[in-house]
């Protein structure tokens, strides 16, 4: 079976006037379905650029990127939009929820751009996605009525709602405290284990990267280290050990689908 992500000699340059800067200098790697990988690196290492290209939000300058066997560099703007819509779920550092819009409507958003989903199944799927991240009962809340951790879980529900092949998370715990960050990792681990969703997250926090099964390190636009972790930390255990006061979030341990 093809790997889900396959990149070869990927480069990305930005030209500002005469000067030319390299964000990626030739990255080659592949990811199979069901992997849980963390990308680490300092700012300017090219990790965000790599994520943008993998997420079909930007195009490489040279090299090959195959997603699910498709050479996406040949696709049009709208075809890329369709791939982002159905194959990829995004989670951002700053949540990026629509203000003055209820949780369930935020989760429904990707489905509005999916022609194959009708309005009734839209609601059903959005409810299911919210339940998966333990937010049932909060469907009508607006983002400003939710905690940071809850907001990020709404964002995860939004990334899940189209049943994507993979979730791309760019510093998802960056705006959260440690506890909420670990809870988020618990949700990711559940999704990865129970539903086989491929997860690729960018982080600069080694404690967060420790929950992944593979850690890829970027420096100066190149992959300098690609390590498989045999025994990653378990987020549930981490929660139970270090923070016994609070339990595991309700929905996180029972992906109810």
């Amino acid at each position: 079976m093809d790997p889900l992500i396959e990149v070869r000699d990927l480069t990305k340059t930005y030209s500002a006037g005469a000067a030319r800067s390299w964000a990626l200098r030739g990255v080659s790697l592949s990811m199979a379905r069901g992997e849980f990988a963390a990308i680490m690196g300092r700012s300017g290492s090219g990790k965000s650029t790599f994520m943008n290209i993998v997420g079909c939000l930007a195009r490489q300058s040279s090299g090959v990127y195959r997603l699910d066997g498709i050479d996406v560099s040949r696709l049009s703007r709208d075809e890329l939009a369709a791939i982002r819509n159905t194959k990829i779920g995004f989670v951002f550092q700053s949540f990026n929820l629509l203000p003055r819009t209820s949780a369930i409507e935020n989760v429904e958003l990707p489905l509005l751009y999916n022609r194959t989903v009708g309005s009734t199944s839209r609601l059903v799927r959005a409810r299911q996605a919210l339940a998966m991240v333990g937010l049932e009962g909060l469907e009508g809340r607006h983002p400003n009525e939710l905690s940071g951790g809850q907001q990020q879980r709404v964002a995860i529900a939004r990334s899940l709602v189209n049943s994507p092949e993979m979730i791309l998370a760019d510093e998802p715990t960056g705006a959260l405290d440690t506890r909420n960050g670990v809870e988020l990792m618990a949700i990711f681990q559940e999704l990865n284990r129970r539903q086989g969703i491929t997860i690729l997250l960018v982080t600069h926090d080694p404690d967060i990267a420790a929950f992944a099964r593979r850690v890829i390190r970027f420096r100066d636009g190149l992959v300098v280290d690609d390590e498989t972790i045999r025994r990653p930390r378990d987020a549930h255990e981490a929660l139970a050990e270090t923070m016994p006061a609070a339990g595991v979030p309700a929905g996180a341990d029972g992906g109810s689908r």
Partner: protein, 411 residues
């Protein structure tokens, strides 16, 4: 329908989030559409009224007046006020093929007395043809006849206003009225006609035979020459009014022995000429209002474009997010276009309401009649929507073509 509804719902939600700004933005469109609606309502009301009044004066009426009535320049014709005669009237009716009837008219204001009542009114001396030319009808009694004209009978036809003032108790027919101390028998009462286009009460009149008028009522100057104050003629149809005017002009020039370089010593006017002036001033007014309307629609459209540009900038991150989760160029374009169109259409709707209210107020205060035109209202509403499309397109396109990453990281 399902693919259309979400953009409109989203648009309404986005606009309500900034309701004050949205309200101020559409003011231009509101004023523009309201001006269009009020203009059309008042304008077509005025046209309607003028047409009704023209019809009330008499159909296909052509008036021949002595002397020159041209306002610009000094004309020698003014001294020739007695240039028309009863013979002219007879000749016009007999010799001009396009002229159906011609009634000579002499007029004078007189105090009229009946019993203890008295009333100042216009005395019109004419022939029975006058009734047909002016579309007058006799409500009670009968008109005077040609024999009355030949015999200079002292008979009178009273207008409704005169009857009301001289015979408040009713029963005018058969009674006697005194005009310049000459007793007249009232033979009939005219059916009411209402106001003329110039605002005169057309029912404030007494018709008497022209011969009687000259002998008994009018001053000596008119009585002597067989001259008349004017001749009212009726063309055979609306189509031949111009032809009839030409025929009358050449006949009268011939009868008055006018050589080529000499100017006419009479003026021929049809009512259309008279009221074209009124209508053209109404048209100028309408064009002025239309100009205001289009300018304010333009300004309103620019306002919408401005606010949409601000909105696109404010919501750059939202657009980035939508693009990231799979919105196509068209989806974003449609979303912002829908906002602009909803904004403009809301303005259009409010404008229609405001315009109708304005027209109603104008008609109440100025006493003008208004005519509400369904197509005009639909057109104005449609046009406001088009303003939204036109001025919303650039901001919407700007939004749709944003780079997803730049938009997501926009601060």
């Amino acid at each position: 329908m399902r693919s259309m509804a979400p953009p409109v719902r989203m648009a309404i939600r986005a606009l309500r989030a900034n309701s004050v700004r949205s309200g101020l933005t559409i003011l231009g469109v509101v004023i523009g559409v309201a001006a269009v609606i009020a203009t059309v309502a008042v304008g077509s009301g005025a046209r309607d009224r003028i047409q009704k009044q023209i019809a009330s004066i008499g159909s296909n009426l052509i008036v021949v007046l002595p002397g020159s009535l041209t306002a610009s320049g000094i004309r020698l014709g003014t001294g020739n006020a007695l240039s028309l005669t009863e013979d002219d009237a007879r000749a016009l009716a007999a010799e001009c093929p396009s002229v159906a009837l011609a009634a000579p008219v002499v007029r004078q204001a007189q105090q009229v007395v009946a019993g203890v009542s008295n009333w100042a009114t216009g005395i019109v001396g004419t022939t029975p043809d006058f009734l047909a030319v002016r579309d007058l009808e006799v409500a009670r009694g009968a008109a005077f006849t040609w024999q009355d004209v030949d015999g200079a009978a002292k008979v009178a036809l009273l207008g409704e206003t005169v009857v009301r003032n001289l015979f408040p108790a009713g029963g005018a027919v058969g009674q006697s009225v005194r005009i310049r101390n000459v007793p007249f028998i009232v033979v009939g009462v005219l059916a009411p006609k209402g106001q003329s286009p110039s605002g005169q009460d057309q029912d404030d009149v007494i018709l008497i035979p022209i011969s009687t008028a000259k002998k008994k009522v009018l001053g000596s100057s008119l009585a002597s020459a067989g001259a008349v104050g004017s001749i009212m003629t009726q063309a055979r149809s609306a189509a031949v009014i111009k032809t009839a005017q030409e025929e009358m002009r050449s006949l009268l020039r011939q009868r008055h022995h006018l050589q080529t370089p000499q100017e006419d010593d009479f003026t021929i006017r049809n009512l259309e000429d008279v009221f074209n002036a009124q209508e053209s001033s109404a048209r100028v007014m309408a064009m002025l209002l239309a100009a205001i309307a289009s300018v304010s629609l333009l300004v309103g459209g620019i306002g919408i474009m401005n606010v949409m540009l601000v909105s696109v900038t404010e919501r750059t991150r939202e657009i980035g997010l939508r693009l990231a989760v799979g919105a196509r160029t068209r989806d974003i374009l449609l979303q912002f276009l829908a906002e602009a169109v909803v904004l403009a259409s809301a303005g259009g709707l409010l404008g229609v309401v405001a315009g109708l209210a304005g027209a109603a107020i104008i008609s109440r205060i100025a006493g003008w009649s208004i005519v509400l035109s369904g197509p005009a209202i639909l057109l104005a509403f449609f046009f406001s929507g088009m303003v939204g499309v036109f001025f919303g397109f650039y901001p919407a396109q700007k939004a749709a073509l944003l780079d997803p990453i730049e938009a997501l990281h926009y601060e």
